[in-house]
Symmetry: C2
Subunit: 288 residues, 2 copies
């Protein structure tokens, strides 16, 4: 596995591969790699001749009261994962390389960034879009692999990549879960045993809401209210529960996929999760 610490070095390595006709798959991460990341690397390995991963804990996407300082950085374990997954190039830039004095450019995707996570984390998606624009500038991949767990992030980045003519195909891979249904996250390690035992209720509630949307003709608004009621008695605090159009994050259009998404404060962790569903059509129930 080769390692690059500057965009110029990463670009030189990737362009040499491209000159040989190789296709390039790219998996951006903040490290603390788990089976969710591994599933992205494995998909990239199947699709592409060369797999590039990046590790960069991006300060631009953390709010002032968020967990930038204590975000896990197990670089030794991460390197072992990347080697096991046969990654060809790891791009791990220095913070001062990414944001030198005088850095000022921002990439904003204002409409799809606005609801849900965007309401709770001002500036978060601007930080995500800016760093991913930089990473794509350095790597110039053919395909970008993202996890469905961060569903809004995938929508924002798909929009950015199309709008800025990046020429990258965005591949969104299924959320990887523990056997009891909890979505994998680098932040799961912060939970107590009791919190961890309760946490699968979030996915169970999302699945039941999706089933009510599909099978029983429940409206998106009613599904949101149902989720709020269902989770009101839990040990933490529901941040939001939303049913939105899966592509635009706006009001759901009849017959198109709906994203059911929530965020929940459990002890000192904020968990997010989501499922895709399709509302039953009003007349006769046929699906498009």
């Amino acid at each position: 596995m080769r390692v690059a610490r500057t965009p110029a070095r990463a670009r030189a390595i990737v362009r040499a591969w491209r000159a040989e006709g190789d296709s390039i798959g790219f998996v951006p991460t903040m490290g603390a790699l788990h089976a969710g990341h591994r599933s992205l690397l494995e998909r990239a390995r199947r699709d592409c001749d060369r797999v590039v991963a990046s590790i960069f804990v991006n300060p631009l996407q953390f709010g002032p009261r968020e967990d930038l300082a204590r975000y896990p950085r197990p670089i030794g374990a991460d390197l072992a994962v990347l080697r096991a997954e046969k990654v060809d190039l790891l791009y791990v830039p220095f913070e001062r390389t990414m944001y030198p004095p005088g850095f000022e450019t921002r990439v904003a995707v204002p409409r799809t960034s606005a609801p849900m996570e965007g309401e709770r984390r001002p500036g978060h998606f601007e930080g995500v879009a800016t760093v991913v624009a930089k990473l794509l500038g350095a790597i110039e991949p053919d395909r970008l692999y993202l996890g469905r767990k961060d569903a809004q992030q995938a929508v924002v980045l798909r929009r950015m990549v199309a709008d800025l003519d990046c020429g990258v195909r965005v591949v969104v891979c299924p959320t990887v879960r523990e056997p009891d249904g909890l979505a994998l996250s680098s932040r799961n390690a912060y939970m107590t045993a009791d919190e961890r035992a309760w946490a699968p209720h979030l996915y169970a509630a999302l699945r039941e809401a999706a089933s009510r949307l599909r099978a029983r003709g429940m409206s998106p608004r009613a599904a949101e209210a149902w989720l709020r009621r269902r989770l009101a008695a839990g040990p933490g605090r529901l941040d939001y529960a939303r049913a939105v159009d899966a592509e635009t994050l706006g009001p759901p259009a009849r017959g198109r996929p709906i994203l059911l998404a929530l965020a929940y404060h459990l002890g000192r962790v904020r968990l997010i999760d989501n499922v895709l569903a399709t509302e039953r059509r009003a007349k006769g129930g046929a699906r498009r």
Copy 2:
């Protein structure tokens, strides 16, 4: 000369050249090509194996009261110029290709966009940065050629290209002028004969202010005031006259290049022009 109307087509053509080892020079334009554009194309022709030009009158960089509708679009004459300059590829996207329904991404370079043109034309540089990010995404050139005439635009784009790791070298070429000193501009055609006869006073005033900065120890602030007085008696209205650090557009640092820039309303035209100068150092006059 080949012509592409979509980013995918342009990218495919350029990548095939790159696979053969060719270097790529890129000259973005809004058409209405004059000798200033030709000087950029000629410089790109000397530096690079392949020259790509674009023509796109970018609605995102025009304000609501600006001249988008009447901006000249002499496509036949432009094609003749591009062929004469041996351009390899013309990228001339449709507006609906550049900004389809749902388009929402913006690239902002807020600090260097703020003064001078940015104060007078809110959103202008955001429109410029966004469209150039798109053009660079489609073309992926090695070098980007810009004219010194739009000095602030060159500073903003140099900053954006560095910040987003575009891997493009920005080459800023000297302003091309009429024999009497007037900077070439597609908008010069809007002037009456009397306005055209007076217009060279702008460049003459800038040159004299630069000479006072260099040779007589005049401060940047005093040079701005001198320009305001000098142009107060003209037939139009001075919009601004500024002496700023040529790289940051902030307060001039002693011994570093200073950009003297102005905008002037003359009849229904708004003219901009600038010169580079270096302030004489306070102690002994030595230059760094």
